[in-house]
Amino acid sequence: MTAPPEAAGTVALRIEALRKSFEKLEVLRGIDLVVREHEVICLIGASGSGKSTLLRCVNLIEPIDSGRIFVAGEEITAPGVKVDRIRRRIGIVYQAFNLFPHMTVLDNVTLAPRKVLRHPRAKAEVDALALLDRFGLAEKAREYPDRLSGGQQQRVAIVRALAMQPDLLLLDEVTSALDPELVAEVLNVIRELAVSGMTMVIATHEMGFARDIASRVVFLDAGSILEEGPPEAIFRHPREERTRRFLQRVIEAGRLSGEAP
């Protein structure tokens, strides 16, 4: 949407020959992917195609079997790399929000800046309130998460990740757990982030959204990248038969109205 695809630019994330298995099941079979700064990459594909696992591997929550991952030129999968330091620079937002239920919204957002970045509470709270205000959540700052709607909770989770000023934001099907009428408010937040130039990798089932927002769309099938390119190309003229079939199923499910692949 904002960054020209395949344009020259600093590489924010580079994944080389990434493999990951759970027991005997190979979930990622050699993923290669380059994400440049300010790019928005949408990962699409059926459930079980490896989208979430890929994001969790990039955030080092899942140990990888082989391959290499670079963030801003630094190999984060190298032995001896301090994972806590890497995770500070990579924000991740989960499908199930995972807000801390025993803390107010404000404490949820300021916890990591205070404890990890060692910001004084006053500074952390000023910054957090500014972020919350930007996403229309300022009046919820003193509430506990269970008093918020799902959409509000997910927006708080995004703000919580942003409070660490990450270089890269990973969004793992962030609208899948929401009631349909709450999806838009979360997608709007992500749109705003895209406009502001945040580098993002987004696993999503919202094809219309992916078409609008993505610099590039990556179609994952059975743990491999089958096809990638600008959204127009992927959604209108998919090269691969399997991409076509996947999009056909999505259209039948009503998730991408009026767009014939």
Partner: protein
């Protein structure tokens, strides 16, 4: 708290429509509630009346009454017994603080991940197993007589010290299991969320997992403390003059068992409010969970 509702409640099906009909036909509902309260009172009076009649008409009752319920012995022994109870309160309070800390430490040690910590986990597990296996009185005996018996320099001789030590070691084993169940009940995604924000393993435990775990285990912890409160009498066996020892002294001096009844009364007065409070907490948590369920 909800006593009157509880009396009227059972047997009434809880349906939305039922509540409405109750409002429309108010008087009959009131009648039903009054009637069931009346039945509850009547059956209670009859039940306890029969028991009282059996006890009071038994052939040995006059003798039992004289040796267990002597008002003069009661009045004479109560002050010293209640004063001795202060020792139990001290035992309880000091041990409780130590138990809360040690139990948590043990629980955390048992949950340490990674192969490096195998010996630590093993030690913590053995500790918990051993101290839960041993009868408390035995631990008190062994520590209270055994360690001073070693005659090591600098080792205290005060039985109070060993009483606190023994109670702390016994109860920390139980309490660490309570903590551990609480820690395990916090969903792994909470830890994942904290770690992915850059918090260290320890910070995640400290700020995210343990605060949630402790909140969940407060009722079972209080239950253990009711047990601790009562078990403080066990240390009388190593010569700590606390309430039970004092009532024994009073009994020996008066050849009358009434001092034990004083002690029993003291524990009832102190423990029942704590037990009620625990029940109230458990109920409140359950209601909260029901309300929070989506």
């Amino acid at each position: 708290m909800t006593g009157s509702a509880g009396v009227a409640g059972p047997g009434r099906p809880v349906e939305p429509g039922d509540g409405q009909s109750g409002r429309v036909f108010g008087p009959p509902r009131m009648g039903a509630a009054t009637r069931s309260t009346g039945i509850a009172v009547a059956s209670t009076v009859v039940f306890f009346g029969v028991i009282a009649w059996i006890v009071f008409s038994s052939p040995g009752w006059p003798a039992v009454q004289a040796s267990f319920f002597d008002p003069q012995v009661f009045a004479a022994s109560a002050p010293s017994i209640i004063r001795a109870f202060w020792v139990n309160i001290q035992l309880f309070l000091i041990s409780e603080v130590l138990i809360l800390v040690l139990g948590l430490v043990i629980a955390i040690l048992r949950n340490l991940p990674g192969a490096v910590f195998t010996p630590v986990r093993l030690l913590a597990t053995i500790y918990v197993d051993v101290f839960r296996a041993l009868p408390g009185v035995l631990v008190i005996y062994i520590l209270g007589f055994g360690i001073p018996g070693l005659g090591l320099p600098g080792v205290p001789n005060d039985p109070f010290f060993y009483a606190v030590l023994a109670l702390t070691l016994i109860y920390s084993a139980y309490v660490s299991e309570v903590y551990r169940s609480g820690i395990d009940s916090v969903h792994p995604s909470q830890d994942a969320a904290a770690r992915s924000l850059g918090l260290s393993r320890f910070q995640s435990l400290r700020y995210v997992v343990i605060p949630q775990a402790v909140r969940r285990v407060i009722p079972p912890l209080l239950n253990d403390f009711i047990g601790l409160q009562k078990d403080t009498v066990l240390v009388s066996y190593i010569g700590v003059v606390e309430i039970f020892r004092q009532s024994y002294i009073e009994q020996a001096g008066s050849f009358n068992f009434t001092p034990y009844m004083v002690t029993a009364l003291v524990f009832i007065v102190v423990t029942i409010p704590l037990a009620r409070f625990t029940d109230w907490l458990v109920n409140r948590d359950r209601k909260r969970q029901l309300a929070g369920a989506r």
